[in-house]
């Protein structure tokens, strides 16, 4: 006890000294000379904050909070019981209803953020197939998003094709791009795969950046048409009215529709034979092959179907911005989507949705911090991975089909 106490505080001290050593070169070395004031000021604040945390931890170890914890766990226990008692379809229905009435509860800004979240839900769920189910690390995933976006942009500008017509084409082209990257990487694993996919993402971005005749390079493409929607109008008989999606809340419904389709499709894939085979490949590729899984085809399929959803999301993105440029498809975006999948819980659909929500909506909340946003973000990610290494909502792996066998 005493020994551990000492160990903790010694580590605390060493940690603080280290922090100073790291901070000073960042803050104290200036063109006009060396300077310690700012470093000490910031370091002092951090040290006080850390000290507070240490004291809380110390009190916790000594059992000061035990009473409160017991009450807390009783509350979570009873809510969990209540949650289990509600049938799942009812929960889904409530969620759907909330999603449907959401635009009337918020303003333009809220709609904007919601559209973003839903785009990333699609992206996250698509990447989840590749990373979470099939276990293939893909660091260039955003390339398929780019392919989808440019497909719709070009079809809309040059051929005046409507959004809904272009959507399947964007999906198809993204799937083909998925196969193109999938094919050469089929024999690779782990680190090599990461590097090749990373390279592929950059290649696509560079093509978009440099193929002036087709993509207009870094200037991007503008003049993309909005999606059109047919609406059953009943004011003067039953007529189909066509109108353009103009307001952000209308865009919200379009992407909500795409996201729900994506969720259903991914759910179906997840629990199909194909999903099971992907999981077997993730667990042990050779063993899967020995059990009669065509790993070649299924890995290609994983890349292709993951890419399809990115293609859809990309087409929507282009229609909403009405402008695309290569800047939107950088590695940082790929990393972001990957972070959502990992943070939410690999292979878990609700997890990925939560991950997208957390990584898109929360930074909006933190907008005040502005400069330190990415710092806070990184800190939260690190803490999350320490506290919940399997993600916010880990995939339930206690077999569904196994239950049915009994």
């Amino acid at each position: 006890m005493i020994h551990e106490f000492k160990k903790r505080w010694v580590s605390f001290g060493i940690g603080l000294i280290w922090l100073f050593v790291i901070l000073w070169p960042l803050l104290g070395i200036k063109p006009e000379g060396l300077e310690f004031g700012t470093t000490f000021a910031l370091w002092g604040k951090l040290a006080v904050a850390a000290l507070c945390i240490m004291i809380v931890y110390e009190l916790n170890v000594r059992g000061v909070f035990d009473g409160a914890k017991k009450a807390g766990s009783a509350i979570t226990g009873s809510t969990r019981k209540a949650y289990a008692a509600i049938p799942q379809w009812l929960l889904l229905l409530i969620l759907l209803a909330l999603a449907l009435v959401f635009p009337s509860m918020t303003g333009r800004y809220g709609h904007d953020v919601a559209c973003n979240v839903l785009i990333y839900v699609c992206l996250g769920l698509g990447l989840n197939i590749v990373v979470g189910l099939a276990g293939l690390l893909d660091l260039g995933y955003i390339a398929f998003y780019g392919v989808g976006a440019y497909t719709y942009a070009l079809l809309s500008i040059h051929y005046q094709l409507s959004f809904w017509m272009s959507l399947p084409i964007a999906g198809c082209l993204a799937a083909i791009a998925g196969c193109i990257i999938g094919y050469p990487t089929l024999r690779m694993r782990g680190d090599y795969l990461a590097i090749v996919t990373l390279g592929f993402g950059e290649i696509v971005r560079l093509i978009l950046n440099n193929w002036m005749e087709l993509t207009n390079g870094p200037n991007g493409l503008s003049g993309i048409k909005r999606p059109g929607v047919y609406w059953l109008d009943m004011t003067n008989g039953w007529t189909l009215e066509h109108f353009w999606v103009k307001k952000v809340w209308m865009y919200y419904y379009v992407i909500l529709f795409i996201a729900i389709c994506t969720i259903i499709a991914v759910y179906r894939l997840n629990y199909s034979r194909i999903g099971r085979a992907w999981e077997a490949i993730r667990e042990d590729e050779t063993a899967a092959e020995l059990m009669g899984v065509n790993t070649f085809l299924l890995k290609l399929l994983a890349y292709a179907s993951g890419a399809v959803f990115a293609g859809f999301a990309g087409a929507f993105f282009a229609s909403r911005m009405r402008f695309v440029s290569p800047e939107s498809f950088t590695f940082l975006e790929s990393a972001m989507v990957l972070a959502m999948v990992v943070l939410g819980g690999m292979g878990s659909i609700p997890g990925v949705i939560l991950g997208a929500l957390a990584l898109i909506a929360l930074p909006e909340v933190f907008r005040e911090f502005d400069l330190y946003r990415m710092l806070v973000f990184g800190g939260v990610m690190t803490v999350m991975m320490l506290v919940r290494p399997k993600g916010l909502w880990p995939a339930k792996r206690v077999g569904r089909r196994s239950e049915e066998m009994d």
């Binding site: 099971r276 009669g292 196994s402 066998m405």
Partner: protein, 241 residues
């Protein structure tokens, strides 16, 4: 075993390599229908490579592999289980984050007959009652012995005609090893031909009809199991005498 018996699996002068390194240097062996044949040899002799070459995970460089009279060199690994040739690989290689039942279901992945799969699941649970108790547990949380049972159970879910077993005794307590060998003999008595790879030569030969001795990628001896067991060279080299 008599020569009149039907040959179900045959390797003729098979060479295979990892890159430039030749691991099998022209191996020939025959397995008759209904037999248990064991391949014994020291660590690194090429036993696992032999099984992986049969399953075309390691490609054949030269020579022919025949299964039920058909040349299978060029067939994809994933086709072989559908033909009744199934391997339990070295180190078990179960799917750690799938449940026991899901692991077993993966063994029947290519099959579509739900009723038959259910029967075979029952049969696997009868062979290994431990697995029934643990059917909802993740494969990775099983003990070594249970994982070996799961790996064998998974393989018999494919209704194999020939079962390739790579070191089923590896890292297991003697009592469990005996249990597993008893079940291998039982599976064999139900009509499944077994090609068994083992470092534990004594145990393997006692369970087998015939045996091959492998040394650095070549077959150096083949005989009836009882003859190999009483051979003084073999006893010195592999049975620790």
């Amino acid at each position: 075993m008599s020569e009149s018996k039907e040959v179900i699996l045959e390797l003729r002068d098979v060479t295979s390599a990892y890159g430039n390194i030749e691991a099998l240097k022209g191996i020939s062996l025959k397995v008759h229908k209904g037999e248990i044949v064991s391949i014994i040899g020291a660590n690194g002799a090429g036993k696992s490579t032999t099984l992986m070459t049969i399953c075309n995970i390691v490609p054949t460089v030269k020579g022919d592999i025949f299964y039920q009279g058909e040349r299978i060199n060029a067939l994809g690994s994933e086709v072989l289980p559908t033909m009744g040739l199934c391997q339990v690989p070295e180190g078990r290689r179960i799917f750690p984050r799938l449940t026991v039942t899901e692991n077993l279901e993966m063994g029947a992945f290519f099959r579509k007959d739900q009723a038959g799969i259910k029967d075979d699941m029952e049969r696997a649970f009868e062979f290994f009652p431990k697995l029934r108790e643990r059917r909802r547990q993740l494969g990775g949380t099983l003990s070594g012995g249970e994982q070996q049972m799961l790996a064998i159970g998974r393989a018999i879910m494919s209704r194999p005609k020939v079962l390739l077993l790579d070191e089923p005794s590896m890292g297991l307590a003697p009592l469990i090893v005996q249990q597993i060998f008893k079940i291998i003999e039982e599976i064999n008595s139900q009509g499944v031909t077994v090609l068994l790879v083992e470092q534990n030569a004594n145990l393997a030969l006692q369970a087998s009809h015939r045996g091959y001795v492998l040394e650095t990628g070549s077959v150096v001896m083949e005989d009836d199991a009882s003859a190999l067991l009483s051979n003084s060279d073999i006893r010195k080299a592999y049975l620790g005498e």
